[in-house]
Amino acid sequence: MALEQEFVCPLPSGIHARPASALEEVVRHFTSEVTLLNRRTQRSANVKSILAIVGTDVRLDDACVFTVNGPGEREDMAALSVFLRDKFPRCDSPLTATKTETAAPLSPCLRDAGATIYRGQPVVPGIGRGRVVPFGKFSIPPALPRDGVADVEKEWRRLDASLEKLNAAYDHRLVTTKGIEAELVKVHQSIARDVDFQNNLRAAVTERQRTAAGAIEEAEAHFSKLLAASGNEMLRERALDIQDVCLQLLREIYGDAAKTAEVKLTADAVVVAESLTPGQFLALDRKFLKGLVLASAGGTSHTVILARSFNIPTLAGMHELAAIQFGDQEIVVDADAGALVANLTDAARRYYVLEERRITGRRTRLKKLSARDAATEDGLRIEIAANISTAGEAVGAFAAGAEGVGLFRTEMLFLDRDTPPDEAEQFESYSAVLAAANGRPVVIRTFDVGGDKPLAYLNLPKEENPFLGRRAVRIYPEFETLFRTQIRALVRASAGGKLSVMIPMIATVDEARWVKTIVADEQKKCAAEKINFDPAMSVGAMVEVPAAALAVEALSRELDFFSIGSNDLLQYFMAADRMDTQLAALSNPLQPAFLRLLKLIADAARAQKKEISLCGEMGGQVRFLPLLVGIGLNKISAASPAIAGLKTELSRLNPAACEKLLETAINCATSSEVNALLEQFFEQASVPLVETELVVIDSDATSKEEVIKQGVDRLFVMGRTDNSATVEDAVWKREATYSTGFGHGFAIPHCQTNAVRFNSLVLLKLKTPVAWNSLDGQPVRVVILLAIRAAHGGSNAHMQVLAKLARKIMDEDFRAEIERESEPARVCAVLQGIFNRS
C-alpha cells in the first residue's frame, strides 16, 4: 500500500540541482521507491535521480505529491516527512548570479572609432584582447559508430565499467581540488551516478542496440532537452554540466578516438563559443586565455563561475554569435563596457591604450593610498583592518592595505562538512593568517554557529526563532570539547604573532568568565606540555547583544577589548530582521537611538581603557565613517575592497568635526534627519575642486572625444567617480546643446551629475590643438572640464567658486597666465588663487 504526502515547494529558486541532490541523498538508501509528482507540470520523477527531480521543474509554491511505495515504506515516509519539514526549507542558498546591468552608454571615442561593436552582457568584468579562437558546439565525433551492437550485454558492461572508472576519477579529483573546482566535480559526479542517467544509457544499449557513443549521445540530448524545458535559468545552465560528463565518459571508453577537434591556445586568445562546458574551460591554457565570449551562458553557469574565479573577462548572452564570421583577427572583449569589439581600427586600438592607462592609473593610485597609515587629517591613528572568512584571504587583505585582521570568522572551517575540523587543521589555518600578518594584530573570532548556521554534526534541534536561540557562546558549554579544541589551537597559534581571541554573542559576565576559565585551562595544559604560546594573548567580546552594550563596565573586568558587531546589534536593538527588506527603515544604522547606543558602548570602553572597534557592515561604508570617527573607535574592520577608500576618507576627516557631527546626529529625531545631516557634512567637506593630479599639462589627445575621455578618466583615476561612462555621457549631452569652445583656444565642457563624488575640475593642456567647433572657429589648446554634483541646495561654496572661474576665464590676462604655466602644481595654484580671492 503506497503512502502519499502532499507538499508545497518552499524554496524561492525551486528544486534545482542543489536541493534535488539533498533530496536524493535522503532517499538514496531507502528500500522503498519514492516518486515525486509536480501537479503543475504533471511531470513525475524517481526521487533517487537528481536529474529526474530537476526535470519536474518544481518552482516556488508548486503543489506536489511524494509517493513512497515498497518494503520499509512506513519508516521511509516518516524520515522523508521529517526531512521535508525541518531541513528541506533551509537546504538551499542562492547561487551568486552576476548582476545583469543594462548596457551603459559607450564612450563616443569607441563608438565612433570605426570598429565593429557587438553589445553583450558583461558577466566577468575586465578587458581582454587576443586572436579569435572559435570553439565548436558540443559534438560526438562522427567517426564513432552509433548503432548496430551485436552483443548488447558486453557493450553495456563496457559502458558500466567506464562509468565506474569515471566515478573513481572524480573521487581522485576531489582529493586534489578545492573550492569551486571541487564543487563542480561533485556536481558532475552526482550526474554520473544518477539513476535516471544510468538507466537511460542502459536502455539505449540493451533495448535499442545502440553503441556506447550512441547511448551517450541520446542521453545528452534527452537530459539537455529536459533541462532546457524548465523555466529556470539555473537549470538550463546545468545542461553544460551534462555535456561535460558525457564528454568525459566518451573519453573513458574510446580514449583519443573520442577527442573532438582539440582547441589549443598558443598565443593571447579570446575564445568565442556557442557554449563552453566547465571541463572545456578548465582544459584551456589560462596563460593565453584573455577573454571569453559565450552565446548562451548566463551568470550562474559553472563555466562563468570558473571564469570569474580566474578573472577572465567574459561576455555572455551574445545570441547573434553564430551568425558572425570573425575570421582570423584580433578582437577585444570589453566586459567593462559590455562590448565585443572586432575589426579593430587605429582609433579603437588607441581607445584601449587610453583604457589601459585609466585602469592602471587608478590601480597605482589606490595601491599608494592603501599603503599609507590610516589616520585622520590631524594624524589621529585609527586602525583600518580587514574582515576575512578563510585563511587564504589574509594575504590579499594585507595587499589591499589592511593594518591587521579585525575579524577572522572561523565558521567557514566548521560549516559544510560531516565532521568538525581537528586541532591540527585549525592550528594550521590560524597560523597561516598570523604568518601573513607578519606582526600585525589579528583578531580571531571563535565559531559562531547554530541559529541560521546549523551544523549537521552538532545535531542542534530546529528552533522557532534561531537568531534568538542557541548559537555561538551559548552552545559552547554543551559542545565543550569542540570549543576547547578551538581554544587550544588558538593558544598554540598565539606563539606565531599578535593574536587576540574574540567571543561572539556575549550577553553576560558569566559567559565571559566561563570562556576565560577554558582559555586559562588550555594555556595551563600547553605550559605543562612545554608548548609555546603567548601568555599575553588578549580575549575580548563582540558587542552584538544589547545587554552586553549596557554591561561594558562589568565585562571589562573579565575582557581585554570589545568589537561592535553592528549587523546583529542593530537587528537585536531594533528588533528587526535585517534580511527582511520590508523592515529596511528599521534596520538603518542611522537611527539616532542606535548611534546613541554605539556612543554609549565606546564611551564605556574608553572609561575602562579598553580597545573598542567595529567590525560590522557599517564599517565598510565610507559614508558612515565620519560618524564612526565621532564615536571614537580605535579600529574599524571591513571587507578588503573597502580599505583603500576608508583610509582615503579618513585622511580627510577632522576628529573634532566628526565628534560634533555625531553629537548632532544622536540628538536628531529621525534617521532621515541624520541622513540629511550627513549629506550636508559631505557637501561642506573641504574636498578641493581641483588638485595637482587633476591638471594635465601634456595631454596627447588627438580629438575632442579623446580630450573629454582623458579628462573624465582623470576623475576616475583620482577616485572622484566610479562610473566614467556616465560622466562622459553627461558631458556629451551638454555638448550637444552647443559647443563649449568659447574661443581664444579655450573650451569649458561641463556637466551636472551625481556620478561624481565631489565637485571637480580637470584642466588639460593639449600638445596638439584639436577642433572643438568653437565660437571663433579656432582649435582648442586648453580644456577646463567641470563635473558638478546635481544635488546641492542653492547656496554652495563650490558654485560660487565656479561662477568666479567662469567670469575670470573671460579675462585675457588670466588665460595668458594659465597658458604660460607649465607645471601642474603651478597651474593648480593659479586656479586656487581665484578661488581664494574674494
Partner: protein, 98 residues
Amino acid sequence: MKLVAVTACPTGIAHTYMAAAQLEKTAKKLGHTIKVETQGAMGIENELSQADVDAADAVIFATDIAVEQEDRFSKARKIQVPVQAALKDPEAIFAQLK
C-alpha cells in the same frame, strides 16, 4: 546709457557667468553702466529690482532658457540674444541699442 541684463544658460554652471562678465566688460569699454543679474545653478544673483529695471534704458536678455520673474520687464525695451552671442561678439549686442 543705463542698462540692465539677465544671463541664463541650460546648466547654469559656466556660460551664465561668462556672459555676465563679458557684458560688464564691454559696457564699461563702451561707456555704459550695466547691472547684470545671473540666473544659474545658484539661483538668481545680483537680482534686479523693479526700480533697477524702471530706471534702465533697455534690458539685454542673453539667455537660452526662460527668464524667471519675467513680469519685472514687461514695460522695458528688450533685446533678446543667445548666451553665445554675448561671448562671441558682445559689441554687436550693444550696437543694436542705437
